[in-house]
């Protein structure tokens, strides 16, 4: 696609429910990133994918968070048993690859998650 597409744009859920956030990167971009932006906070790195592989999962806040990417394209970030502190905007970004040394990320508009 022309840009990074994220869905849903807005999600309100109850504490304890599971949520899935989807990211569709720019066509041909092999690298994909997830960030979290909480109110008044900066951007917190969560995880990145090179192809379908996630070399570094250290940024995931807890084992309730998981992410996968299939077919080297769409990625899903899943949060299980949501807590109120999970409320944030979840940003996805993609880039052409990670080997070029000029790794410019293009960001999606984000998915705003509110946990009641």
């Amino acid at each position: 696609g022309a840009g990074v597409s994220q869905s849903p744009s807005n999600k309100v859920t109850e504490k304890g429910k599971d949520v899935e956030l989807r990211c569709d990167p720019i066509s041909g971009h092999t690298a994909l990133y997830w960030y979290r932006q909480s109110l008044g906070q900066g951007l917190e790195f969560l995880i990145y994918f090179q192809g379908n592989s996630a070399p570094d999962k250290s940024g995931l806040p807890s084992d309730r968070f998981s992410a996968e990417r299939t077919g080297g394209s769409v990625s899903t970030l899943t949060i299980q048993r949501t807590q109120q502190e999970d409320s944030a905007v979840y940003l996805c970004a993609s880039s052409r690859d990670m080997s070029s040394g000029a790794n410019v990320l293009t960001f999606g508009a984000g998915s705003r998650l509110t946990v009641l």
């Binding site: 960030y35 906070q41 951007l43 790195f45 570094d56 940003l91 000029a102 790794n103 960001f107």
Partner: protein, 113 residues
């Protein structure tokens, strides 16, 4: 640990005044450096980037940034601010062996008429 610091959380300038937003990085070697802007309700937009070469880089919307190795800084500047520049600005750094683009905490710019 690798980090990016933006010392100013909030800055207010008058329209037409000059602007400088500070950014410092802590890395073992010079990373690739970026400035992004996030307008209210909008996604992040790349303003400019520094990879190597000329230490003064030009970006979009009349912004420029200067890389100073001795100070580990990459400050963003604009000679004359417009009301539409009110937004949140993020400095970021990336090293090819980490796969991570690390962001500073952001600086919120308010523009007074």
């Amino acid at each position: 640990a690798q980090s990016v610091t933006q010392p100013d959380i909030h800055i207010t300038v008058s329209e037409g005044a000059s602007l400088e937003l500070r950014c410092n990085y802590s890395y073992g070697a010079t990373p690739y450096l970026f400035w992004y802007v996030q307008s209210p309700g909008q996604g992040l937009q790349l303003l400019l980037k520094y990879f190597s070469g000329d230490t003064l880089v030009q970006g979009i919307k009349g912004f420029e940034a200067e890389f100073k190795r001795s100070q580990s800084s990459f400050n963003l500047r604009k000679p004359s601010v417009h009301w539409s520049d009110a937004a949140e600005y993020f400095c970021a750094a990336w090293r090819s062996n980490t796969g991570k683009l690390i962001f500073g905490q952001g600086t919120t710019l308010q523009v007074k008429p």
